[in-house]
């Protein structure tokens, strides 16, 4: 008996240990790529470097990150991302929107726009696009599809140049290489611009040679989120349009290159966006509303900006009522108790925001996104921008395939045409274009008169050949500002380059003295923390100045800032705009 028990015990023990360890590997989740026994734990590159179908899927995931509207392929809800990337920073700087809240449950406090070190200042620095397109840059050619390198170069050019415009410098090549080990090599904006110009040419050449078919393009573009509509030519037009935009950005520092690049882009056999082309944009096909609608109406986080409100009212532009709406709650001035007329109001940038917003209190009833604009397209580069860029080029005497007036008027007409779909009212471009003079409208904050400010835009719409170039430019830029809504990155860049449109300065400026209130923010400072100190170390050197909001990016040439104007009837001239010519 004793032996039996012992034997039994041994048998039990032996059988258990024979299977003592379970399956060596974990249950494979079907949505994971590769398998555990394939994964090389020393190889950081990923499967896209070996497998073209994976590379294509990676690239497909990269494209929506050019500007994260609501297309993030993974995880968290994109409107939050958009708030970081645009809504709580650049959209405000451009005067299109004003953040109507001082604190955010996620993201933290931003009691006024120029609050130093708020969490949104680093918001646009999202490099997921670079990570996801790394294999396309380095391995697409080896794997037999150089066209994917071309696409990757174009999307990196788009995001790269905008980030240079925001911050003045970028670790462009370190990001591209996915360098995870600090320090990062910050590169000067001018160098990155030069590199991008070359790479755009390379991309255009590859695409012209390879001419990927619609079915090929579908491998890298979701049909619901396509910018090419299956036509490779649109990728070339996108590349040329970026090139044209970048060319104009450097016009003050390098007019020769600017002209050369702009003319190349327009003269290219495929060229920039032209008549009949739809914008380089996502069309809301899959029931997703424009994320700014959620941010404005759903969360009450932004309201119409005072500058856009003022400019639209100044020109009697009907788009005010097409794009915007307001809640039907009375707005009562804080000190006088006067109830404001029913209208669509914008919020002055940089006022102190303390409380959260709701629909009826405080700034709640100010301008929100109109219901009809809810499903609006989400653009990357608009045709309207291209036309106005050409108008400006023509004004500068470049070969832009048209004269300045033609292109200017075409741009204004397009602005009305393309927004007609959002309203049943007829938008009459000709009547608008005929306005020779427009009344200067002062901005009134119906909730608090302390924020009132004199109107600054005095120009009319009608083209007048007798105007000097400066005034013509202001007309072009100011109408572009409206037509190109909601492209705030371009608007802010152009404002800093030309001084147009005349945007209202912030009411409170906690970034003083680094940032002059009238000159406004010149670049976005980046929050330096213990953890990123090393990554930030090389920034100031290539920036050529301190890492604050008053330092100018490379194309923002201060030599041209010579003109003074009397604003606010202060009796003395204040620098507000450069001489552009």
């Amino acid at each position: 008996m004793k032996t039996n028990i012992f034997a039994l015990a041994l048998a039990v023990a032996a059988s258990t240990f024979a299977t003592g360890c379970g399956d060596r590997f974990q249950e494979e989740l079907p949505w994971m790529v590769g398998s555990q026994d394939q994964m090389d734990n020393n190889d950081e590159v990923g499967l896209g470097a070996k497998d073209i179908t994976v590379l294509e899927k990676e690239l497909r995931g990269a494209i929506p990150f050019m500007l994260n509207y609501s297309h993030e392929p993974t995880g968290t809800w994109a409107p939050h991302k958009y708030q970081y990337q645009r809504s709580n920073n650049v959209d405000n700087y451009a005067g299109y929107w004003t953040t109507s809240k001082g604190t955010f449950t996620f993201g933290g406090p931003m009691p006024s726009l120029y609050t130093p070190d708020n969490d949104y200042l680093g918001g646009p620095l999202d490099n997921q696009l670079f990570n996801n397109s790394k294999n396309a840059i380095y391995y697409a050619e080896t794997l037999g599809k150089p066209e994917w390198r071309a696409v990757a170069l174009i999307i990196q050019a788009y995001l790269g140049h905008e980030l240079v415009d925001f911050y003045g410098a970028l670790p462009f090549n370190d990001w591209r290489k996915m360098n995870r080990v600090p320090p990062l090599k910050w590169e000067a904006g001018a160098d990155i611009y030069a590199q991008i110009f070359t790479e755009l040419d390379e991309a255009i050449a590859i695409l012209k040679e390879r001419q990927p078919s619609a079915s090929e393009l579908e491998k890298i573009e979701d049909p619901n989120k396509t910018i090419s509509d299956g036509d490779w030519v649109r990728w070339v037009k996108f590349a040329n349009s970026i090139k044209l935009r970048m060319a104009m950005n450097i016009v003050n520092v390098d007019p020769t290159t600017a002209q050369q690049k702009a003319e190349e882009a327009v003269a290219d056999e495929i060229g920039v966006l032209t008549d009949g082309d739809r914008d380089i944009s996502y069309v809301s096909k899959d029931g997703h509303s424009n994320c700014i609608y959620q941010i404005s109406v759903g969360w009450d986080d932004v309201r119409l900006g005072a500058s856009l409100e003022n400019i639209l009212k100044h020109f009697n532009n009907p788009l005010l009522n097409v794009w915007f709406d307001g809640y039907q709650y009375p707005i009562v001035e804080k000190n006088t108790g006067i109830t404001a007329e029913k209208d669509i109001y914008g919020i002055r940038p940089g006022i102190a925001m303390i409380n959260t917003t709701n629909k009826q209190n405080n700034y709640g009833p100010f301008g929100i996104v109109h219901e009809n604009y809810r499903m609006a397209d989400q653009p990357f580069i608009k045709f309207a921008e291209v036309i106005f860029l050409r108008a400006e080029g023509a004004l500068r005497g470049w070969a832009m395939g048209g004269n300045a007036q033609e292109l200017y008027e075409k741009g204004v007409r397009l602005m009305f045409e393309e927004n007609q779909k959002y309203t049943t009212e007829t938008l009459d471009a000709e009547k608008y274009l005929a306005q020779e003079e427009c009344e200067v409208v002062d901005y009134t904050d119906p909730l608090n008169y302390a924020h009132n400010i004199k109107g600054r835009v005095s120009i009319g719409v009608k083209w007048n050949d007798a105007d000097d170039d400066e005034l013509k430019l202001e007309k072009i830029i100011t109408q572009k500002y409206i037509a190109n809504f909601p492209m705030s990155a371009e608007a802010w860049t152009t404002y800093r380059r030309t001084g147009y449109p005349r945007l209202f300065p912030v009411y409170l400026n906690p970034m003083k003295p680094d940032v002059d209130t009238e000159l406004q923010l010149r670049r976005m400072p980046i929050k330096v923390t213990t953890n990123n100190a090393l990554e930030m170390a090389g920034l100031e050197q290539v920036l050529g100045g301190p890492q604050h909001g008053g330092t100018r990016v490379f194309w923002d040439n201060s030599d041209t800032w010579t003109r003074g104007e009397d604003i606010e009837n202060s009796g003395f001239p204040v620098v507000v705009a450069p001489n552009n010519f």
């Binding site: 028990i5 258990t16 379970g22 026994d37 406090p109 009691p111």
Partner: protein, 1093 residues
């Protein structure tokens, strides 16, 4: 005069006791008291003397024949007894209340027995790792045993809470989550792990349990709200089933468990059936829970809103006019306005009731024993509609076969529980949010019966007036609609939240265990255990239309979600043990074995946003059959399945203990462990394993000096161990497909050289027993360092990379002492005191490859918990005032009194405000007995540490804190503090003499917590008081009834913060001591009846 006990006699007794308990492992083979003569059938008159611990005659001790309880006698005034007709060789059982019973064999010669106090721990057998039992005096590390009566004296739904204040170095922080109790955070000797667990391992009857921690409120959700802290599996155990718990405090004690032993172990032994006549215990507790302290708000100022306007009033705040100054018309315009201030919380919270009833049956023979228990708990919370129900059934059977060579014991435990409407913590969807924000001018009683009405076109939610009826839903005509005049983010009528959001969690748990023990040969034994823990959980959540999850009525047609999860844990071990004593000098005890755990789980969930397309408030997923062409959130029905999750670990282990001359004991253990999480890194190189070990020594110093009359034992011990905790069993550095669009993510950063989190610990201590074992104390020093902390760090290009890094050390002192004093035969006093001091230091953090130190930050945008080199675990940082070079607070719009506001620093969280962990914790318990009446109380306390209240910062923001009212009152009385436009001003608290509007000031500092909202957590509280009376032999021999009245959480002796410093909304790491609209603490009064026969 104290009489030293003959140690020989004592050893004999203890050996007898050990055998009686069926224990093995005794470091001593029992030296027979006398050669046992052959049993004689001849009956004689048994007689003898029973002495108490002091050697005085014991009066009234009971002497019974084992197996024949009807035959017995009691000792007389001289401690003598006479029991006629007892055959030689018969076992006699001698017992007395408060003393350990003793069984002796009647051999024909008069017996002299000295009884020992029941609380005697010196010779106690302690259940150590892997269920190995050791004599307390042979241990080389600190342990503490808690007996059943401590667990059930003042019952909590979660039995672990009974350990509060009972053991040095043990901190229990219960989640304040309403009826059902939720999980408790258990910390032994401080926290070290940031992402992993800091909970000790829980072992029930030798089987390590998954802690089964349900979802806990995360850092973001503390601020945001919307989620509930769920319970854990530990809390489902019936306290009545627990026989004792042993706390193995440090990793040294727990090294044999290897993994997960980082944080110590709590070993729970459940009751088993006793042989002999059937014993029945019935216990019944009824308790009522009342709010101990209501949140305090000012009662001077009311709502800042034009109450006579039509429609909603907007934000809830106290920035309005003085209460009592409104006109009769104004008062009449809203039914809930009152001119006599009220406290909304007092009007809202109700009395909670807990009913706990249970029965246990046990009995059997020498060869087969049965234990059965049933317990029912029903609780209603202080928030209306919050309910909890639990049924526990336990059946245990043990058999002895083949002349007791084979012992088999089985147990089956079924737990069925249901929790309804666990209150939400934080802002969104919590009843407390609107409640605490309600100014005293509003009479919450109005809303008790007016929180809803039937929807008509007059309701905004039905017709909201914006173009496209963006947030309205015409289908809500005839449906319940919230009656509530206030909106702002997250604001709902508290009664609506309580009644119209139905949340239910149902759980069934089956826990089965079979243990087979075989005495193979002499002292060589084999044991195997096999256990299965199967848990099924269902949750259901129904939210009625026009609830606001954030903005006004954003739930347009109702919201439904349901989830099911199941998990199985299988455990199996095999162990050979051998122990012997050589030459009556050397004790050897060895155990070898292996164990094996497997975990399987899978969960599915489905949720539906019932918007305008379906039928409102029909809570089924098919209510979204219709397309939603313009829904901003895409698909209305979401479903997910976690996929199969498997995990396993296996280990081989060995442990040995050698005792020399009964004076010195040396032990060591070794464990070789495989965990699945590491195998993904082993392409082509076999299985990856890690090993853990410990070693210890103890010296019974008293044996070296020879007998000292007042010293019973002086033990010095020291031990060292290395244990680990594997990385999470997830797949690292893998690219994934996105279901929506077929994209593939880039490859995430690799996990270079993954290792277990490893704790190296040293401890040393003194264990001293004096004055005839009346007084003992234990002093321990420990030092425990965790390295290879598992964390995610941000790479230079912003990705998240898993690393093993850093060093966090806890070291400290623990002292515990107990004393018992038998004052007279009627009076006795027992007391225990414990105090622990712990210091935590982050010695090293992650270094980037270029050597820069990395600072881990956890937390929402309101505050951060920073893990910095040189700092402590859980250091709290906030944003404070932005100051100029003179240290003055920066003002925006200076001079413009209507608009000027102080400027806060943002985004940097540079202001250190303390740590929520108190370095010193203590407990003091006392038991006074007078005859059958017992008074017990427990005081516990903490010194140092902080508690932060986001509620208080909101009270400032909304003008509801007392200081906002005081500042306004002061300004009203002082013309210097009134601006021309009537704005009430105050001086900035920076000595600059500048003035700022009271409202702007508090609205600015109240937006997020700053240093003003952090309070000292030092506090002492009367944790428990109980008074019980025992009616012995009430219904005949050995049937007793005990009646008890008790108060839990009786009162604070000292407290400095406006909230309970032990507040916990979550068991998540580093987030204790943070309050954001948490439920107030409750005090319970209970009556318990225990009947046994």
């Amino acid at each position: 005069m104290l009489t030293p006990i003959n140690s020989f006699q004592k050893l004999t007794l203890s050996a007898v006791l050990m055998l009686g308990a069926g224990a093995f492992a005794g470091a001593h083979a029992a030296p027979a008291a006398a050669p046992a003569p052959q049993a004689q059938a001849q009956a004689s008159e048994a007689k003898g003397t029973v002495l108490d611990e002091e050697g005085e005659p014991m009066i009234g001790a009971s002497v019974q024949v084992v197996g024949n309880p009807t035959k017995g006698a009691a000792t007389d005034l001289d401690g003598n007894f006479v029991l006629p007709g007892v055959a030689s060789g018969t076992m006699l059982r001698i017992s007395a209340v408060g003393y350990k019973p003793v069984e002796v064999k009647w051999e024909g010669t008069p017996i002299s027995v000295q009884l020992a106090f029941d609380s005697e721990e010196l010779q106690e057998v302690v259940v150590t790792a892997m269920g190995i039992q050791r004599e307390a005096k042979t241990l080389t590390y600190a342990t503490q045993t808690v007996k059943a009566d401590e667990v059930t004296r003042i019952k909590s739904n979660n039995f672990v809470n009974a350990l509060q204040g009972k053991a040095a170095g043990l901190t229990i922080t219960p989640n304040n989550s309403g009826a059902g109790g939720g999980a408790s955070k258990i910390t032994l000797r401080g926290s070290t792990s940031i992402l992993g667990t800091n909970q000790p391992l829980i072992v029930i009857d030798g089987v390590p349990m998954q802690d089964g921690m349900g979802d806990q409120v995360s850092a973001d959700a503390i601020v945001y709200g919307g989620t509930r802290s769920r319970d854990d599996l530990l809390s489902t155990i019936n306290p009545e089933d627990i026989d004792n718990m042993t706390i193995l405090k440090g990793p040294n004690a727990a090294a044999l468990y290897g993994s997960a032993a980082n944080n110590g172990v709590i070993v729970i032994t459940t009751k088993t059936g006793a042989s002999g006549q059937v014993k029945v215990d019935i216990s019944s507790t009824t308790s009522i829970d009342r709010i101990a302290t209501y949140p305090k708000t000012q009662k001077l100022f009311g709502l800042d809103a034009d109450v006579t306007s039509s429609g909603r009033l907007g934000d809830l705040n106290g920035w309005g006019p003085r209460i009592g100054t409104r006109s009769a018309d104004e008062l009449a315009s809203r039914p809930y306005l009152t001119s006599s201030p009220r406290n909304a919380s007092e009007d809202f919270f109700q009395t909670g009731v807990t009913l706990n009833n249970g029965i246990t049956l046990s009995g059997g023979t020498d060869l087969s024993r049965t234990y059965f228990s049933y317990n029912n708990t029903y609780q209603t919370g202080v928030v209306p509609e919050n309910k909890f129900l639990r049924n526990n059934v336990m059946l245990k059977e043990s058999f002895s076969l083949f002349n007791k060579r084979v012992n088999i014991s089985t147990s089956l435990n079924w737990i069925n529980q249901r929790t309804d409407n666990t209150p939400v913590a934080g802002r969104a969807l919590s009843a407390t949010y609107a409640l605490y924000r309600t100014p005293a001018e509003i009479d919450m009683r109005y809303y008790r019966n007016h929180y809803k009405h039937t929807g008509t076109m007059a309701d905004e939610i039905v017709w909201d007036g914006t173009p496209g009826n963006t947030y309205g839903n015409y289908k809500l005509i005839g449906q319940p609609v919230q009656t509530w005049d206030f909106d702002g983010d997250y604001l709902n009528n508290p009664y609506w939240v309580a009644n119209m959001i139905k949340d239910q969690v149902k759980r069934d748990r089956l826990l089965g265990n079979i243990t087979l023990g075989v005495n193979i040969w002499k002292n060589l034994k084999y044991q195997t255990r096999f256990s299965v823990d199967y848990v099924v959980t269902n949750t259901l959540n129904e939210m009625y239309a026009n609830t606001s999850t954030k903005t006004m009525h954003d739930v347009r047609g109702g919201r439904y979600s349901s989830s099911n999860s199941r998990s199985s844990d299988v455990y199996n071990d095999h162990m050979l043990t051998w122990n012997d004593r050589f030459s009556d000098k050397i004790d050897v005890s060895v155990a070898l074995g292996g164990n094996f755990t497997r975990h399987f789980s899978r969960s599915t969930s489905i949720s539906t946003e019932i918007d305008t397309c379906g039928l409102p408030n029909a809570f089924v997923p098919q209510n979204n059959k219709y397309s939603r062409p313009e829904n901003p959130n895409g698909s209305a029905t979401g479903a997910s399945d976690s996929w199969n999750y498997h995990d396993w670990s296996s280990a081989l282990f060995a442990t040995a203990s050698v005792g020399l001359f009964d004076k010195v004991y040396v032990d060591g253990s070794y464990r070789l462990e495989w965990a699945q999480s590491f195998q993904q890194f082993t392409q082509g190189s076999g299985y990856k394993s890690f090993d853990y070990y410990s070693a210890g020594v103890n010296v019974l110093l008293d044996r070296f000096f020879g007998p000292v009359s007042w010293l019973d034992q002086l033990k010095w011990r020291g031990s060292w161990s290395v244990v680990g905790n594997p990385i999470p069993n997830t797949l690292f550095a893998r690219q994934t497909y996105d279901f929506a669009n077929g994209t593939v993510s880039a490859r995430p950063p690799l996990f270079d050289d993954p290792k277990p989190e490893t704790t190296t610990a040293y401890e040393t201590g003194l264990d001293v027993w004096m004055f005839n074992n009346k007084f003992n104390f234990d002093l321990t020093y420990y030092n425990s360092t965790l390295k290879n902390q598992f964390m995610y760090v941000t790479t230079a290009n912003g990705e998240s990379k898993p690393v093993n890094t850093g060093k966090i050390r806890n070291y400290g002192l623990e002292f515990s002492a107990s004393y018992r004093w038998v004052i007279t035969n009627d009076w006795s006093w027992r007391t225990g005191f414990n105090v622990a001091w712990n210091d935590n230091r982050i010695l090293e953090t992650y270094k980037t490859e270029s050597g820069a130190p990395y600072e881990v930050q956890v937390g929402p945008s309101a505050f951060k918990v920073k893990y910095k080199e040189g700092g402590r675990y859980g250091d709290l940082y906030v944003n404070s005032f932005a100051r100029d070079e003179n240290g003055y607070i920066k003002l925006l719009n200076e001079g413009d009194y209507a608009n000027a506001a102080p400027q806060m620093a943002t985004g940097t969280y540079d202001t250190f405000v303390g740590n929520t962990t108190s370095p010193v914790t203590m407990g003091w318990n006392n038991t006074f007995s007078w005859r059958n009446l017992t008074l017990y109380f427990l005081i516990d306390g903490r010194i140092g540490g902080k508690v932060m209240s986001l509620t208080e910062s909101d009270m400032d923001l909304f003008g509801l804190s007392q200081r906002t009212a005081d500042a306004r009152l002061a300004a009203m009385k002082n013309p210097d503090l009134q601006a021309q436009d009537g704005t009430l001003l105050m001086y900035l608290p920076d000595g600059s003499g500048r003035k700022v509007s009271v409202r702007k000031y508090y609205e600015t500092i109240g937006g997020w917590p700053m240093e003003d909202h952090v309070y000292d957590a030092t506090s002492f509280r009367m944790r428990d008081i109980s008074l019980s009376y025992e009616f012995p032999d009430l219904f005949g021999k050995s049937t007793g009834l005990t009646a008890q009245f008790s108060v839990k959480n009786a009162f604070f002796i000292y407290k400095d913060s406006p909230v309970d410093p032990d507040i916990s909304m979550t068991a998540s790491n580093g987030l204790g001591g943070i309050d954001n609209y948490a439920l107030p603490t409750t005090r319970s009064y209970a009556i318990t009846l225990k009947l046994n026969f």
